[in-house]
């Protein structure tokens, strides 16, 4: 692999991207899907997160262009040069352009957009061309099948030389292994870690972990199956920090780093927003867990050892917060990874344990394995 002179790289780990101009040879949805999968090929290997924007200036601006398009690297019509991207940096840095004179496709009847986009995003993240013919960053086009794509070793070494490995998936820096349908798979059930986020969504409970989520009926522990987050929430991609649903409104909130998305069911309602809309202090960069309490119509946000209370009716953070979690919720030890209210009880997920908390008694009334919620 090769890096650019001076080894430019992004100094932050959450990057925004936006497709500002589409091609006529593919639908917008296909282009978005190919772009998301191409970015995920890299985020599988390094601790970078990508947040889609639909307006304004993003770190990585993506567009389909013809001929001379103003960046002193004109395209040359069909074949020849397919695309180019700029090394990390302000302004043009990271921007990625595709030659709209080419026939772009999700398959093989033309140039496969996933293949070229994955290569170009390697440049946008700081990789130059590799002379290893098996590398994704080799200069000439070689079709890659998007589903089941595994980032070649040379590219993994190159990108991790810049950003280090992604902790959670270091051992498997490739497209995630989707666990088999039966959740009793030891790999899942024996996991000592907890969920990243849990929420009601309509009549279902959703459990998020890395790039996977499980859906189940509240009263039925059968037929639980894993899906990839990108299959239902493309913008979220992986590693959701927290989630909650305001039942009466039928809208849900999903948190990642300093951003959140609103959905109505599984339908995204617009681009990501910042968590400071809720009134968090600027030093809060990420939410650990969130749970909506139907009775008082308030949402509790858990951040480290503290928690905040947000009034969903007045749409503002309550005064006299944050408070200390252990002082308020006796019996819950350790960081809270996820929380959800079911049938009037609060459930806190902390590592491999799930605590059932009785709000009336203000105490823990039961403790089970977190993974028992997905049928283990």
């Amino acid at each position: 692999y090769r890096l650019f002179p001076g080894e430019p790289k992004w100094k932050k780990n959450t990057l925004t991207y936006r497709v500002s101009k589409y091609t006529s040879s593919m639908s917008h949805a296909e282009v978005d899907k190919a772009v998301d999968m191409a970015l995920q090929a890299w985020s599988n290997a390094v601790p970078l997160n990508f947040v889609r924007q639909n307006t304004g200036e993003a770190d990585i601006m993506i567009s389909f262009e013809l001929g001379d398009h103003g960046d002193s690297y004109p395209f040359d019509g069909p074949r020849g040069t397919l695309a180019h991207a700029f090394a990390p940096g302000e302004g043009l840095g990271g921007d990625t352009h595709f030659d709209n004179a080419e026939k772009w496709t999700m398959g093989t009847n033309g140039f496969n957009l996933f293949t070229v986009a994955a290569h170009e995003f390697g440049h946008a993240l700081g990789l130059a061309h590799s002379s290893d013919p098996s590398a994704l960053m080799y200069p000439t086009y070689r079709y890659q099948h998007p589903y089941g794509f595994r980032l070649p070793k040379d590219d993994v070494k190159g990108i991790q030389a810049l950003y280090g490995p992604r902790k959670a998936v270091t051992e498997r820096p490739n497209v995630p292994h989707i666990p088999p349908h039966k959740p009793s798979d030891p790999d899942i059930c024996d996991s000592t870690s907890s969920f990243d986020a849990v929420t009601m969504l309509g009549k279902e409970l959703l459990f998020f972990k890395d790039r996977i989520f499980w859906r189940r009926q509240v009263h039925l522990a059968a037929g639980i199956r894993p899906s990839t987050i990108t299959s239902s929430f493309p913008q979220l991609m992986s590693n959701v920090d927290a989630a909650y649903e305001v039942t009466e409104k039928g809208i849900a909130f999903f948190f990642k780093g300093p951003h959140y998305w609103i959905t109505r069911g599984f339908q995204m309602q617009g681009p990501p927003r910042t968590i400071y809309d809720f009134g968090f202090p600027r030093h809060v960069q990420q939410i650990d867990a969130a749970v909506y309490l139907r009775e008082p119509r308030k949402t509790l946000f858990f951040v480290g050892e503290d928690y905040y209370s947000y009034d969903e009716v007045k749409r503002k953070m309550e005064k006299d917060y944050p408070k200390n979690i252990e002082e308020e919720f006796s019996g819950i030890t350790g960081k809270i990874d996820a929380a959800v209210e079911v049938n009037g009880y609060l459930y806190f997920f902390s590592g491999p344990k799930a605590y059932k908390y009785d709000i009336e008694k203000e105490d823990v009334v039961n403790v089970v394995k977190s993974s028992s919620w997905i049928g283990c």
Binding site: G80, S131, P139, T140
Partner: protein, 85 residues
């Protein structure tokens, strides 16, 4: 130009221009020459760039536009130069 081809009879003038454009786009530092770089004009420059490209792609380094070199030059590819700018 003909000295750059292994078998001038078989190679067309078009190949020469393809090669010239390819080397200019992917093996020429843009934005003027870096300080201290001695610029060699004419045939030596092209021969030197051909060798650079052949070395990058693991081809036999001949400095000539032989068949396998032209074949690589005609493949669809990324527009980012191979010698990093």
């Amino acid at each position: 130009a003909s000295t750059l081809f292994v078998s001038p009879a078989r190679s067309t003038r078009r190949d020469y221009y393809i090669a010239q454009a390819y080397l200019d786009r992917y093996y020429t530092k843009k934005g003027g020459h870096q300080i201290g770089e001695i610029v060699v004009k004419g045939r030596n420059t092209m021969e030197r760039k051909i060798k650079e490209m052949q070395a990058f792609f693991g081809l036999q380094v001949t400095g000539k536009l032989d068949y396998s070199t032209m074949k690589v030059m005609k493949r669809p590819r990324c527009g980012v130069p191979d010698i990093a700018n």
